[in-house]
Symmetry: C2
Subunit: 399 residues, 2 copies
């Protein structure tokens, strides 16, 4: 079987409001982050299957004949998409030699690749191909880089197997899929996420698939139909933190001071709901400064609340102070305790302010990107764009 070359991309994810509160049954708003992961699928004719992941220094090739031996472990129950095929995962771990303990990012990326490849192609004629993935997203920063990868894998392989159509028209630069196709992409991406993370919420792959904004409440994910694109700065303080430790810290604080903390979670919940309302209004009526005033106010309030529940960090205080000095409003995004923060930019925020702020933040030792939230989910890219994108990749791999 020969596959057609294709190029797909998927966005990262940021939590706009409701991180941590979501663990305690409150609403969270997850938004797509327009730092994207790109996946190029290229047919080969030498009977090899290769994967190139320059961001995590991973370059592997297998003979098709090796992979074919693994197909005997494929379950017949194709309809059981909700559950991971544990037997296949076990055999794949043996195959790549990581039977014990936690997987590093390289091993888990390979495992997810092989799992989806074999599940989708294993029962038929397996194609020889190279998958190359490169990303604008930092890995391990809570920005959904693994989900964007899984979404790209799912979309590319589903296209290649013709399980979903190739949406790109000759004259279009990018193409998207219909709702049903997106659901299929999302469910396969979720499988990839399960391999990588064990017990993911499903939010990251949903954002990577649908883009825009999602409302997440008590395990239910509701994509919001229309949201405005918001300019932001994304800053990575590069302070390492453990999400697990931070979630435990919040739980301890709630247990210790319930009468003080539970109202704070209620207030965070109201912030998410108010934000959703404002963003919806912004798509129905002319956007005004008042909309941005409220968005900024919600950011400031939530940042205080996140400090109250114990997930602040001096590096995040510095981020807020540095941006406040330029009239900009920031909050942490995700787990906190370091990690990343977002800074809202107004449509009229000029490039002097943006560049100056980015310089200030880099002077603090942080990484900083000007990007946007609320943009499109996974999509097929025009292959003619491969060339400039490869250049990015080459610059990444050479550096």
């Amino acid at each position: 079987m020969e596959v057609r070359d294709c190029l797909v991309s998927a966005p990262g994810k940021a939590i706009l409001h409701g991180e941590h509160a979501v663990v305690h049954g409150k609403v969270a708003l997850a938004v797509s982050l327009n730092l994207r992961t790109y996946l190029q699928l290229k047919a080969r004719s030498d009977g090899k299957v290769c994967i190139n992941l320059p961001n995590i220094d991973t370059f592997v090739c297998w003979e098709l004949s090796e992979l074919k031996q693994l197909t005997s472990f494929l379950s017949d129950k194709k309809e059981e998409m909700q559950r991971l095929d544990a037997e296949l995962v076990k055999r794949l771990r043996e195959f790549i030699g990581v039977t014990n303990g936690n997987l590093d990012s390289s091993a888990s990326a390979i495992l997810a690749f092989l799992y989806i490849y074999l599940s989708l192609f294993g029962s038929g004629d397996m194609p020889s191909l190279t998958v190359s993935v490169w990303s604008e997203l930092p890995t391990g920063a809570g920005l959904g880089s693994s989900a964007a990868y899984s979404v790209c894998l799912a979309a590319a392989f589903l296209c290649a197997t013709a399980n979903i159509p190739t949406p790109l028209k000759e004259w279009e630069q990018t193409g998207r899929w219909c709702q049903e196709d997106l659901e299929l992409i999302n469910s396969w991406a979720f499988q990839g996420e399960k391999i990588i993370h064990g017990n993911p919420s499903g939010v990251d792959n949903a954002v990577g698939t649908w883009g825009g904004m999602l409302r997440f409440l008590a395990g239910k994910i509701i994509p919001l139909s229309r949201v405005p694109l918001l300019r932001i700065l994304l800053t990575n303080t590069k302070v390492p933190r453990s999400t697990k430790v931070l979630v435990a810290r919040v739980k301890d604080k709630i247990n210790k001071l319930p009468s003080i903390m539970i109202p704070v979670l209620d207030s965070v919940d109201a912030i998410s709901c108010t934000c959703e309302k404002v963003l919806t209004e912004m798509t129905c009526e002319p956007i005004t400064g008042d909309h941005y005033n409220i968005l900024e106010e919600l950011i400031d309030i939530n940042q205080h609340h996140l400090n109250v529940i114990g997930v602040g960090h001096p590096s995040l205080d510095t981020l807020c102070q540095v941006t406040a000095a330029r009239g900009l409003h920031s909050k942490l995004t995700g787990a906190g305790g370091g990690g990343c923060g977002i800074t809202l930019l107004r449509p009229e925020t000029d490039s002097t302010t943006v560049q100056g702020t980015m310089k200030d933040l880099r002077d603090c030792g942080y990484d900083c990107w000007e990007t946007s939230i609320g943009g499109p989910g996974c999509r097929k890219e025009d292959s003619r764009r491969v060339r400039p994108l490869w250049r990015i990749w080459i610059s990444i791999t050479v550096l």
Copy 2:
């Protein structure tokens, strides 16, 4: 009638928790601030009544004969202590020539003095005396300096008229009054506060009278029987602010974002209640680092909440940062938007840390005092202490 010389003092007041929330029906904790106001009453034999208020540059003498003419306006209904004698106030304003508009601190202090003097002595033999008042409290900083003044006036005049006993024993340095006497002092001090402030809550004079800590809820003031003495730094950022404007700002914010703000007020309420519980525990069981850990945590959380309800200020952020750099925890006290802040010191906080922090704060342009909260209310001081206290006064008046 000749009066005995006496020296009395009363403490200032700080809000430990619940400022602003109290306006919206939540608990506030008011504590005595051991920056005290001292009043010396000295008999004269020249038929003059004099008042010296060096802190506010006020030095006035009247002939007893002038004051006697005012007694004809005294109401007979002595039992009506709850209401101010409006007719007397009106005549006193005419007497000192301030019939129109708001009173400055000098005029209102004189008015309170004359009102209490005439009310207590006017129906009998009026004594010739000099009242001298000096204070460690900055005026107009929301620290209850006017209430401490009114409490001193009431205590000294009630002693002089023998309405309350002179509690000081020969061998004691200071002396306090019984509950009934304190209630009488407080009710006359409240009259003074009404003259100075129009519509005071009664909290400031209650703290000045009883000292320690008071629970204030829906207009009801409950003195707490036992609280520990806590070391603090009191810092005056000297940023001017209007309590009225700040109260209105909070109200607007609640009206604009009720679902977000009302839980924050509930959380502040719980902070006050938790703090009261911890302080009560500290008087019943051995004080540990854990007690202080919680007190510090409550201070940090409330400072965030006060920012959320809109009464923060960059000068207060700086105060918090400067003290946090020394491992100390601060919050604004009172109206916010500038004004004063308190910093909790632990019993073991060493003088290097304290002195260094005070220097850092003074380098920011702030005034800073090392003092304590939760100390005694109004008391009679040993007159032998007059001499060193006068030295303070002289240094104030000379500077």
